[in-house]
Symmetry: C2
């Protein structure tokens, strides 16, 4: 009933263990060209690739760093005697879409070729290091990294919210307590069945003196996201400083 492409989309899971095998140039080219073909606002993206390096996670042969790139845009506008006047916040809201659509196309292309992929979300917080490492000019923000290679593991797909917790017709509904609880339950039971966090040893520690009563027997998705967004990244100034270090000033033009 499902075509090949939808079967590819439906079977996505992140791969965190790779064969020690290089990716041919023509496959890398296919992946990036498929990424480039995504719909765009203004092609506000660049991709930095690393190959066969020790610092690529999970032993993957290739890592792509997908960046929001306003630098190229400004260069081209300069050549036409135009100044970039749009504020950096608006540019980011569009540019992150450009970069993300491209990244997701790269994932789909790679997976359709039998390759595994894993996004790394860390650049949002470590952008300064990547700017230095890759010699990024101002107004290039490394948004996300993507490792690609031949899978050396075959994990199941992760659970998702029930469809009626994601798709709404005509208006956003009022959720009953029961509906929220059901979504939480499906996510939590799904992750526990897969023993997801134990396998990754990915429990987030509790800050401060609180003693942790959770073990991998009951630590699951909603506990994990609560610890993540309930303990980390409280200070907006720090995120602004990261953006500023990359040449994005949310006050510019004010």
């Amino acid at each position: 009933m499902l075509n090949e492409t939808i079967r590819t989309l439906m079977s996505h899971r992140s791969i965190r263990k790779y064969e020690d095998e290089s990716l041919p140039d023509e496959d890398i080219e296919k992946i990036v060209k498929a990424g480039r073909q995504a719909a765009f606002v203004s092609q506000m993206y660049s991709v930095i690739m690393e190959r066969e390096k020790d610092d690529i996670p999970f032993g993957a042969p290739v890592m792509f760093t997908i960046c929001v790139d306003i630098y190229k845009l400004e260069k081209m506008m300069e050549k036409r005697d135009w100044d970039l006047i749009t504020n950096d916040l608006t540019l980011l809201l569009f540019g992150i879409q450009d970069a993300s659509y491209m990244a997701q196309n790269m994932v789909i292309a790679a997976e359709s070729m039998g390759l595994g992929t894993c996004y790394l979300g860390s650049p949002v917080r470590t952008a300064r290091n990547l700017k230095e490492k890759y010699d990024l000019p101002d107004k290039v923000f490394p948004l996300v990294q993507l490792v690609v290679g031949y899978p050396a593991e075959d994990p199941p797909t992760r659970p998702r919210y029930p469809l009626d917790f994601v798709l709404f017709e005509d208006e956003y509904p009022e959720f009953s307590e029961k509906k929220i609880e059901k979504a939480m339950e499906e996510m939590d039971e799904g992750y526990l069945e897969e023993d997801y966090y134990r396998k990754l040893d990915a429990k987030i520690s509790l800050k401060g003196d609180s003693s942790d009563e959770y073990t991998y027997e009951d630590y699951s998705w909603t506990e994990h996201i609560s610890r993540k967004w309930g303990q980390w990244y409280d200070d907006p100034e720090k995120q602004k400083e990261i953006l500023e270090a990359c040449g994005f000033d949310l006050e510019r033009g004010d």
Copy 2:
């Protein structure tokens, strides 16, 4: 040489004219389920669907509004007695990725089924209206809209930057003037060949008194993006107000 999925990715072009034909429920479900299966940080998304409405652009039978949804996250955290402490800027940088990966999967799924799609980027600036229209709670930001239906036109794919203007190995290069000019030329000539802006009658007017010397004979991509980002959205406060109206306060926690 290319598999079915990569052929689908490579043949993407936006469709702006649709047959007057409804989309079966099961096709809508397939599209949204494929979207939901994208990699995520924390499933920070919701989708509002409209069907068979006069206000859907291009006569398409279905329009999806893909939102960054922190409201559901906070609701679930409340149930676990956790406060959301991450700042809104960081949440947006991750949440926009969640929503975009989902949106792009929806595009690919739809196109693999022979359907046409077109993103509408306007929500970034008109989010307040959509919040009211769809009764969105605070901390739900409508990021992008996507119309889907049976194509009633068959336009060519749009040009893209040369690959060596997008993909770099190990470090961001210094561009020669020639390289920038070549990228601009390829984009501009490609758009002119397709008569892209004339067909859409999409020329952006010049602000102020400047007389416009461009006609659809020479108005092309780099002129278009220069007029867009060189004339619009200068004030960061206005973009912040739009986000604030949707419950995102970039200073919260400061």
